[in-house]
Amino acid sequence: MAGGLLLGAAGCGGGQSDSGGAGSGKVKIGLVTKTETNPYFVTLREAASAAAKENGAKLIALAGRFDGDNEGQVAAMESLISAGVKGILITPSNGTGLLSTIAEARRRGIVVIALDSTTEPPSATDATYATDNVKAGRLQGAYLRAALAGRPPKVIMLDGTDDSTVSEQRHEGFLKGFGIANDSPAIRGQANTNGERNPAQAATENLLERTSDINTVYTINEPVAGGASAAMAARGLTQKVTIGSIDGGCDGVRDVRSGKYAATVMQFPVRMATRGVDSVVEYARSGKKPHRLSDTGTVLITDKPVDGLASQNTDWGLKHCWG
């Protein structure tokens, strides 16, 4: 029975590699994301897959099983090295966890490009195509500060996980853009949400038990903003509180449009994936390696624009959103 299953699965793979594998000289490109479940990474994978098809290359998409699965990402990279890929696009779960495997891949002449998150040091990979997360946080902070229109700030901060670089960078950026320090009394509460909706909702509910005298909520991403806005609505606080977010997924833009939260900072995973695939194809063709760091851009999306801060409305947002 097990044999039949294996034969079936591998037979299917054989067919695929015949039409797109080493035999026909197609360039193989590996993609290793943090997880398979987050729509952000799904977008990254679909965009990379489309870009690969357009370039006549073959994409092999792998992922860790959860955010922080270093072993899974290392094993995925090792398998891709064995499979003879020309380049590996990776969103590292941990900035330092993959360094030796990345070095090994580069030693074998494979170009390694970090997407979305950088390694530490960033020079460990050939290039990084990512959102400038500090800037994304700063945009959210500047918007929320302007939305207060001079009222004294009372903030809840909903972060991702403690040791995540992205979470730290957005947090820092927010503080800068909002114009307060990390120990400011204006911060009435902070919670780690794992970047997910349900923990975010529970955390907000708990923080509101302590004090509901809040006027601003920082969120690390849109699922978290969704959770926070549900908790606010349940307490009848929707009108009193301005929520900001980061991501630019289509669900998020629709939430901004319907007023669940005031603004979101759009990032562009499709650009990361497309540029990554293009760079590997270019490397395979000409041997030219991509250059180091490239910010794929951020755009503030809101239907309630504030003075002095460039933004796009949700019509534009829905045209350019991902997911």
């Binding site: 699965a9 299917c12 030796s100």
Partner: protein, 336 residues
């Protein structure tokens, strides 16, 4: 056991004997997994030109080291009729203790011993709760999983620690044979399985472990100290998780409190694929090693064949259900 075939036609008898032999082969726990592993290797060797290279095979072995060692401890516990959901968490705490102490300037040897001691101690705590208080292993280790995961993050200050000590990285080093690198961790994995295979087969402890899992009441009646046997298994498993922590540092020179969150289920997968019964008392250690290898052979082979990881999960998950299904059918036919 023998099929009563007297008085029937000779052809029938031969047929029955054949069926009996087949059934015996299937019931010998490691035969099915070994066949599945063999088929997988053959299929991937034919359908891809990158799977069957000595370098890739050595990678598959390296990828099996940590889960393989966790699954060894898991096997012993499952043989007693228990289950351990906390093994990955224990190993992660072990890596954090070793890496953080070394990072803060402690002697790496001391850090290593303390890490091993913490893991063994947590095995002891689980064992005492199961064997002495009689609490269900599922509940005990579910609670332990939650507590230890949180303690790891608290102790780690929610950050990861890079490891530079040669002693802590030892299992990641190895010998270079031409293009192939064999790490000491690979030899350690095989050595551990050989050791426990020998111990289970050739010491009094082995049959006791099987007996308390198969029928604890009868085991007690034959004079086996059931509580002490179960306790010894959890302590041994805890120590093995400590070894797994050490091996994990050799594999990735970084201790991260977020790592190995699904290692508990992966180790159970390896045990089940290896033909060990989740009901206890039946199974083989070697089967577990083969089970761990099957998972990684599938992952590697499907990647070489250009298949995305979601489909790889479909294949692995299906295989687990098939393995348990076969186990159930054999149990039923065996008890008839």
């Amino acid at each position: 056991m023998r099929t009563p075939a007297t008085g029937r036609a000779v052809g029938n008898e031969r047929h029955a004997r054949l069926r009996e032999r087949l059934r015996y082969a299937l019931r010998t726990p490691a035969v099915g997994p070994l066949a599945a592993l063999f088929i997988a290797v053959v299929v991937f060797s034919i359908t891809t030109d990158t799977f069957l290279t000595s370098q890739n095979l050595s990678l598959v072995l390296q990828q099996s080291i940590v889960i393989g060692t966790l699954a060894l401890g898991q096997s012993l516990i499952i043989l007693t009729g228990g289950i351990d959901l906390s093994n990955g968490a224990i190993a992660v705490l072990g890596t954090i203790v070793m890496a953080k102490l070394a990072f803060e300037g402690s002697n790496p040897g001391v850090a290593l011993l303390l890490g091993l001691a913490v893991a063994t101690f947590l095995g002891l705590v689980n064992g005492l709760l199961v064997a002495r208080l009689g609490l269900p292993p599922f509940i005990v280790t579910l609670g332990a999983l939650t507590v230890i995961f949180a303690v790891s993050r608290l102790y780690a200050d929610s950050r990861s620690y890079q490891v530079t000590s040669d002693l802590l990285l030892f299992w990641g080093y190895g010998i270079q044979l031409g293009a192939v690198r064999l790490t000491w961790g690979t030899f350690m994995l095989i050595g551990l399985y050989a050791l426990f295979w020998y111990v289970l087969a050739n010491t009094a402890w082995g049959p006791h472990v099987y007996a308390v899992g198969d029928a604890p009441e009868s085991a007690r009646l034959t004079g086996i100290n059931v509580g002490s046997t179960v306790l010894s298994v959890y302590v041994t498993a805890g120590f093995l998780y400590g070894i797994a922590a050490w091996q994990a540092l050799g594999r990735i020179a970084n201790a991260d409190p977020n790592a190995y969150q699904t290692a508990n289920l992966e180790s159970i997968t390896a045990v089940v694929l290896g033909g060990t019964s989740l009901f206890g008392g039946r199974g083989s250690i070697i089967g577990t090693l083969i089970g761990a290898l099957i998972v990684n052979v599938l992952r590697s082979g499907l990647t070489q064949a250009g298949i995305d990881s979601l489909y790889q999960d479909v294949a692995t998950g299906t295989l687990v259900v098939v393995a348990v299904g076969v186990d159930q059918i054999l149990r039923r036919s065996g008890s008839r």
